[in-house]
């Protein structure tokens, strides 16, 4: 029976129609379906698609010349560089953490595992502004570590290290939460077999574990990178907004916008919107192509 009503359909194959729809008893009349689909798509259209379209339309409102001038302006290029730096450090740091945490949590039994898993997700439930604030409390000249560090000539706040720290904080869970459920599901049989055949721990990890988690790893990195490049609130608190020095791309957008250079603001914003689109495309490709090798649950 389960086949007849489409239970065994791959749920990530939306193009294959679930045969259920022809079973009148457990479906809706055609006009209801059409009405619901229309309503849902109109909602998505108004709330999601129009803002995206608006970014690109506004960016080119004053013509291509203004657009390109805004993008190649020295401050924009400096902001882009800082954004790339913060994003790459965040990805590398949280990737390393994600692998270590997932290895410990998924492959071993220990007390407090559930608590640790919850704590890893903590940064997601903290306001970005508070994520920035915590580093102000530590590194400002009135903070715990600030005075000592400033005495030794190390400036964390209102300089790139603070921006990087805040970005690492807000992107903290991305890789770990993709890896943990997947590696838990995979168990330890393959690793045990490799070890019993004489492979070293590192060999086991690189030749057995890593290949089986590579797509989930890429998925986590993709989301981590998108958030790192787009982070605004946390970075805004610790940045100090020094043009050309401590501005990331989203902060540069804000500055241009507040100066009423709308076309330029949207031009820089369109770069970030382009990044978001690329992220969505790659993410969807990963989900369609490697559904089985990503975490079983489709969650965020």
């Amino acid at each position: 029976m389960s086949v007849a009503i489409g239970q065994d359909e791959d749920r990530r194959e939306p193009l294959r129609p679930p045969r259920i729809e022809r079973n009148a008893a457990i479906s809706e009349p055609r006009w209801v379906r059409v009405a619901l689909i229309t309503l849902a798509l109109s909602f998505l259209g108004v709330f999601l698609v129009t803002p995206l379209v608006a970014v690109f339309v506004e960016a080119f409102r004053k013509g291509a010349r203004v657009y390109f001038e805004a993008i190649v302006a020295p401050d924009a290029v400096a902001a882009l560089k800082l954004t790339l730096l913060a994003a790459s450090v965040s990805v590398i740091a949280n990737l390393t953490f994600g692998i270590a945490a997932a290895w410990a949590i998924a492959k071993f039994e220990f007390r407090g595992k559930q608590l640790l898993t919850t704590l890893i997700d903590l940064p997601f439930s903290v306001s970005p502004v508070i994520a920035g604030l915590v580093f102000v409390l530590i590194f400002s000249s009135h903070g715990w570590a600030g005075p000592w560090l400033l005495d030794h000539g190390i400036k964390v706040l209102f300089s790139p290290p603070g921006i990087i720290l805040a970005t690492v904080f807000v992107t903290f869970p991305f890789v770990a939460r993709e890896l943990i459920p997947l590696m838990q599901e995979q168990g330890t049989d393959a690793e045990q077999a490799a070890l019993s055949l004489g492979a070293s721990g590192f060999k086991t990890f690189f030749y057995v574990t890593l290949p089986s988690i590579r797509w989930a790893l890429l998925y986590g990195v993709l989301l981590c990178n998108a958030r790192a490049m787009g982070e605004f609130g946390a970075v805004s608190v610790v940045s100090g907004h020094i043009r050309g020095q401590t501005n990331t791309l989203p902060l540069h957008v804000e500055i241009l916008y507040n100066e009423y250079s709308f076309a330029a603001a949207f031009a820089v914003a369109s770069l970030l919107a382009g990044l978001a689109l690329v992220t969505l495309v790659v993410k969807s490709l990963l989900e369609w192509r490697f559904a089985d090798e990503l975490a079983a649950t489709h969650r965020h």
Partner: protein
């Protein structure tokens, strides 16, 4: 881990996991150190700092009309936006799980746009749309609906930000829902509406609430998309995260920290609730 083991076995278990795999100590050690340094200790700082303030100052900050107005606005707007998302998110999830239509894959990918689009970009785009001369605002303004630079704009921004939380929490649970139960209900004479309300709804309720809570929690703390569209008028359209920043800029670290602590407490309660709801969801899913 069913019954509580005595201290000796507990210690042994902590120290030496029963596994032949290497690297437990170093992996867990690194993970815990990193977690503590980046997340736990900095967050604890908010509460330590708050505790250092005297009672007078705490009451003065937390009862000041401006702070109360900001907290009310942040929680109220987030609640409203989460409620809108609960309704439309459920509709979207239902349509994507149960029906087929052209362009489904593309729309399904676009649902995640708010996760991928930087909040500042969303903020200026929404402001442009809902401003008096914007694509959407030009129709709303003559009807007396002022969205941009008004509290309604905050709800619009938070609806944009929160939508995927409801859809993505509900989708997998709806997909797993047992169609046999619906067939049984139908064969016993239930109308389609009765089946949806009394058979499907109870099964997806925990996930639905979890999605609502996730959207709500995200909305309460949201900053980037809101500040452009809100107008940021004190007492009217000034959200709590913005007030934290204003206090920081005035070097009122105590005030900023207290608002943050109040928001964190609520976030942690929400996180606990979400975890309980998701645990309920996953046991339900495992049973099926």
């Amino acid at each position: 881990m069913g019954q509580a083991p005595d201290a000796a076995t507990l210690l042994q278990r902590l120290r030496r996991p029963r596994s032949v795999l290497p690297g437990f100590g170093i992996a867990l050690g690194f993970a815990l150190t990193y977690l503590s340094l980046i997340v736990l200790i900095p967050l604890a700082g908010v509460f330590v700092r708050s505790a250092e303030l005297d009672v007078d100052q705490i009451t003065r900050v937390l009862t000041s009309p401006r702070v109360i107005a900001a907290l009310k606005l942040s929680f109220g707007a987030a609640f409203l936006a989460a409620a809108i998302n609960a309704v439309f998110g459920a509709l979207v999830a239902w349509v994507f799980v149960r029906y087929r239509f052209p362009g489904k894959r593309i729309f399904d990918a676009i649902i995640d746009l708010p996760f991928a689009l930087p909040t500042a970009v969303a903020g200026i785009a929404l402001t442009a749309l809902y401003a008096r001369n914007g694509w959407i605002g030009q129709f709303l303004e003559p009807m007396g609906l002022k969205v941009a630079f008004a509290p309604a704009g905050i709800v619009v921004a938070l609806t944009f930000i929160g939508l995927p939380f409801v859809v993505r929490t509900l989708q997998p649970v709806l997909e797993d829902a047992e169609r046999e139960l619906e067939e049984a209900a139908a064969s016993l004479g239930a109308s389609r509406l009765q089946t949806v309300v009394r058979v499907i709804l109870p099964g997806v309720l925990p996930a639905w609430l979890a999605g609502f809570a996730l959207a709500f929690a995200r909305g309460v703390g949201e900053y980037g998309s809101v500040i452009f569209i809100a107008g940021n008028l004190p007492m009217v359209s000034e959200i709590a995260p913005l007030l934290i920043i204003i206090k920081l800029e005035e070097f009122d670290y105590g005030g900023a920290t207290l608002i943050a602590a109040a928001m964190l407490v609520v976030s942690f309660v929400l996180l606990l609730l979400i975890n309980l709801l998701q645990a309920a969801t996953s046991t339900r899913r495992k049973r099926t």
